[in-house]
Symmetry: C4
Subunit: 349 residues, 4 copies
């Protein structure tokens, strides 16, 4: 045991990573207003616990987009995990499988998606070349859901990366793509990773494209990066099984609403029809409890697990998160997730 | 006289206690959001004072759960008081009796409950072994109320104790229980006290158990650790004489609503039927005034009195609290507690 | 010219006064929550200025409780002004007269009230000995209003004074009273000034006493220290000409509402019938503008003028305040005070 | 490239300018409450982005008061630009023209208005001598709009300038006026620039004067410095084509409402009839997006461009602002400004 709580992995990881890689992971876009808002908004949610769940322990078992999960948590898609650990995606996915939670493979994974073990969902960035999109989706046949990320027409201006002139080291590549040449070309005052995505991703992807994709596959479709209820309704219209209410961890539009603040509106609009997942800022089991009380079916956890990976503590971190969540459930008088949904909460703004 | 105000005992006690004991007392669970929220929420309550009470002095005399009290204050149940003073419970209870306020004996008191002087209430943690519960309740026959604490199915994750590997010293035991062996076993990265309660307390206690208990005794029953009005109503249903609106001083569910913010909802729900006491964060006579203006019949005060005990200043502390309260009443134009209830207040959030 | 703005006198005075006297002036009661709230509440008031007053300069001429005033400001009653300047009340009153604003003489003035020059109002603390009350009121015949302060049944617990064991130096006395012996007796851990007022002032003063007083004199009666609209209505009932919405500069009930936040309620209740003055926290001409926009007829200014007196800058300070106010009026598009009343404002909480 | 974002020019400029000039530019009036409120209010606006604009890039093309503009931005009128760069207005106006945005020439420009290149609007301060007003307006015939600033009856008390005894250096003059002698006379404890405007500007300008001016010229009339909807309606009545919701960057009435907070009220009142521009506190492309989402047709940017001018980076700064804005639009799912107007936003106060 090395950490007393999930949030501690940030400091542990910062101790072992280079400044530029630390910044790439921790940073947000612009003045990082949304990065901070994600945390302050979660901190402001106050739960009114119930008492006497009447159970020996709380059971966080859940179904997420049709996948059975040991807790209502999935590992968020995160690019280039070899940046922090030689085994990268292999190691974090293995730990996720051991913990019984879905692992979302990024389009930009640094190991080929076919090599990644366990129950996986595949995250798709819409590439300029539609044949590459088709090829990726075909290769993802072993996955149990398809997550299309819609909040990255271009990469947000992450000033830490710009200032660091951040580029990928030679041994870290986008293993699912044909080339990441641009992502390796260090240029002062420029994020090479942003330059690469600008040339590879298509900003013109549309709801029609999603509908086309949906009709082409059997996968449950998850639309990641929704904040406006009007867009959530569009996702229902194109046949999505779930949306992820997300501002990409404060990495895209700086000034965007905190995910937890956007959640009630989306739940009201589509919560009866599809699953509403949420991410951005989750740092503890009580944060998971809050997201569920506010109306999410489950959450994605990003950076904390990458920080844990950096110090080779994925199993520990997922175990800690589960402990924190079951503790929080029991302390909130909830034997199961159905009881969590009935909790009262308020925004202590 | 050593302190100018009740709040000062924290600094005085920190000066004489070991870091681990200080942390055990001062700390809250998780990121200590609720610990801090208790204070900031009380600080945000603003009273609109009246003028010209027309009395030479204010009279804080009160009845708490049928017990006459010199002021609307009881000493909160707190475990293991020998941690801070060789006479522990004996000394603090003596001072409470001298000040004319009820003393609540913890299940985890470090002197046997029968030895504790003065007007006592007995606080019950539901033990796994029902015969032990019955035995304790029988032993408490000399007490004038029974306080069942319902917010500790397990102990909250108090990270200070986890980091300190906190365990009880050999000479401090749970004198009412058969054994506290586990609470003494220091293990790095673990709170021994939490481990002990996990094995001793029953998380499956239910409203039916409380009803059974109520029917078995003559005591007025107080349910401590209520925040949701729905639970307050359940307490009325099982025959309770009072509830304590409490988040256990921020030591249980981190992220829980501040007690003072939960108070109006509970008062609305059951204030006409039973007494509504409140604790968590009370640090001064003006805090007591605020709690009463918001709707409480009285408050429990925890840590400040333990800090005072640590510097052998229990009489002084209780005297100071009374002075602060009567001063506040007079300055708010209230000759008695009935007038306090009529004060306007607002949450200056 | 020594100060760029009225608020600067605090730092200038702190540089020349002893710590204990500085603390006596600057301090508030308890944790000084209300002291700070007075400022933060004023800072949160946001004015929506108008444009094009169409006047060469703004005219702040005003009537306060029947007295013509060059601006809607009076000097607040403040005890013992010789603490900061050998000429004390004489000097500040002289400057007030020169600036054309009323000076309020405290019951606890350190020069006899008859000696104080200019247009004065007399502030009365209700003494235990009614004959002394009558004698004081008779001596105040030369004053143009009688201000009865009703928020000091006892002095608030000002912890700075308690910690400093504050007592009056020998040469500063309550020149209007028979004795201030107690106020000079330094006792560690006690405010001698508070002890003196406790023995001299009557906490039992009532609305009936005020009515008796009103019927006994010709003076316009001002009731100082009102925050609750119900008390404002009582003031109207006993024949008062004005109330001062005040929390005594945060020196009485700590936790009381900020004066500016209490103002709208009182204005709504009695603003059509009598003058509503306000004090506590006014530090600039824009603060005066805010108070008037929120509904006051005028303000009392306390500490800033005492700080200015300490550095012998009363004329300058009153001139600066006038400049700040006329500037603010012109910048808010207001040629006169009637226009100020029509300004929109909001609480940017 | 020297700056990663527009906001960085402040630090860069502070490094090269004298303290007094830095203060003159950065400072606000009084306690600078409104200066800070402009920023904090913008930071609190949270946008709910849409997804999938379906466009390769966002197009910020706009019309501002009838002028085609490459983005909904104009350079705010700012006096004495030679203070920070030898070419002053010439250089910043050249860059504005190159970037395709209008440049607003100040009455107090340090180069004669006829010399200033590109698409210019002329900003008029109402001078005491009406013939000078007429002469200036005639000289401005080459401009495409006339901006009358109505929030400077006198200059706000900018304490930094007062403390610095700020005066213009000999080589910086108000090139459009007959004399600026007073503005050069350094007097300790006085702002010479404020003294100059006090003698030159007319505080008595009225809506009738504006009507007279409107009837005398063909220019579209813009009224700058409006915060109250009642004044916005007056502007419509006198035939204005636009108002600028502005508190002059926090330099006039300290305590005034933040411009972004005043914007919705003005848009509601007159947004259907005339253009509503906004300035004060805009520091990034996301701030422009916010102002437009809240209801502005466009913004004026002040200090950031002066700071950029100080380090000879006007082209870069305007390019960066455009990049930030188009990025923000794309990340908010908006292909054009019409889409921006449909964004949801909330004030996260
Ligand atoms: C280093 C890093 C890389 C990421 N890469 C991707 C990605 O490839 N695809 C994607 O959809 N989201 C990506 N995200 C966003 C995450 O999926 C997730 O939305 C976000 O991290 C959640 O916020 P949190 O980190 O505060 O938990 C990435 C986030 C980080 C921090
Ligand atoms: C050191 C410590 C031990 C405690 N032990 C008990 C206990 O044995 N039983 C119980 O019901 N509450 C216990 N509590 C909670 C208190 O009864 C009370 O709810 C809480 O301390 C109130 O908050 P305050 O300390 O801010 O006044 C304990 C609290 C502290 C600080
Ligand atoms: C040093 C000092 C002495 C005071 N003495 C009196 C007094 O004798 N009578 C009274 O009615 N108020 C007294 N006050 C309160 C003032 O009249 C006034 O209500 C308060 O100072 C206003 O707040 P401000 O100081 O923030 O302007 C005193 C205040 C101070 C700071
Ligand atoms: C140094 C400086 C000089 C200014 N001079 C003028 C001026 O001559 N005329 C005018 O209408 N506004 C003037 N302004 C105000 C600006 O036009 C604009 O309203 C303000 O700067 C906007 O706020 P921002 O600086 O935060 O963008 C000036 C502002 C500054 C900072």
């Amino acid at each position: 045991v090395r950490a007393a709580c999930l949030a501690e992995y940030e400091a542990l990881a910062t101790g072992v990573l280079s400044g530029a890689v630390s910044d790439f992971i921790s940073g947000g876009s612009g003045a990082e207003l949304t990065l901070r808002a994600n945390r302050s908004a979660l901190d402001r949610v106050r739960i009114t616990p119930r008492v006497m769940a009447g159970a020996e322990r709380a059971d966080p078992a859940s179904r997420l987009v049709g996948t059975a999960a040991a807790m209502p948590v999935a590992v968020a898609p995160m690019a280039y995990q070899r940046l922090v650990h030689p085994e990268g995606e292999l190691e974090l996915a293995r730990a996720a499988a051991a913990a019984g939670v879905p692992y979302v493979v990024s389009t930009l994974s640094s190991y080929p998606l076919e090599k990644i073990p366990g129950e996986c969902w595949f995250q798709l960035y819409w590439l300029r070349d539609r044949r590459q999109v088709e090829a990726l989706v075909d290769r993802a046949a072993g996955c149990s859901a398809l997550v299309v990320t819609v909040d990255v027409p271009v990469m947000g201006r992450r000033l830490r990366d710009v200032r660091n002139g951040f580029a990928l080291p030679d041994d870290v590549v986008a293993a699912n793509l044909e080339t990441t040449r641009e992502a390796h070309a260090a240029v002062p005052g420029l994020s090479a990773v942003a330059a690469h995505t600008a040339s590879a991703f298509s900003p013109t992807v549309s709801w029609e494209d999603l509908e086309w994709l949906k009709n082409r596959t059997e996968f449950p479709l998850v639309v990641k990066g929704i904040l406006d209820p009007r867009d959530a309704k569009r996702a229902v219209d194109v046949g999505a099984s779930a949306v992820v209410v997300s501002n990409h961890g404060g990495r895209q539009l700086d000034g965007a609403i905190a995910s937890i603040d956007a959640l009630p509106g989306v739940v009201d609009a589509v919560g009866n029809e599809i699953d509403v997942l949420m991410d951005s800022g989750i740092r503890s089991g009580t944060d998971v409890l809050k997201a569920l009380a506010v109306g999410a079916s489950g959450v994605l956890v990003g950076r904390p697990l990458l920080w844990a990976l950096a110090v080779d503590a994925c199993d520990e971190a997922l175990g800690l998160l589960r402990t924190e969540l079951t503790d929080a459930m029991l302390l909130a008088g909830c034997a199961d997730l159905a009881a969590v949904k009935e909790l009262s909460w308020r925004n202590d703004g």
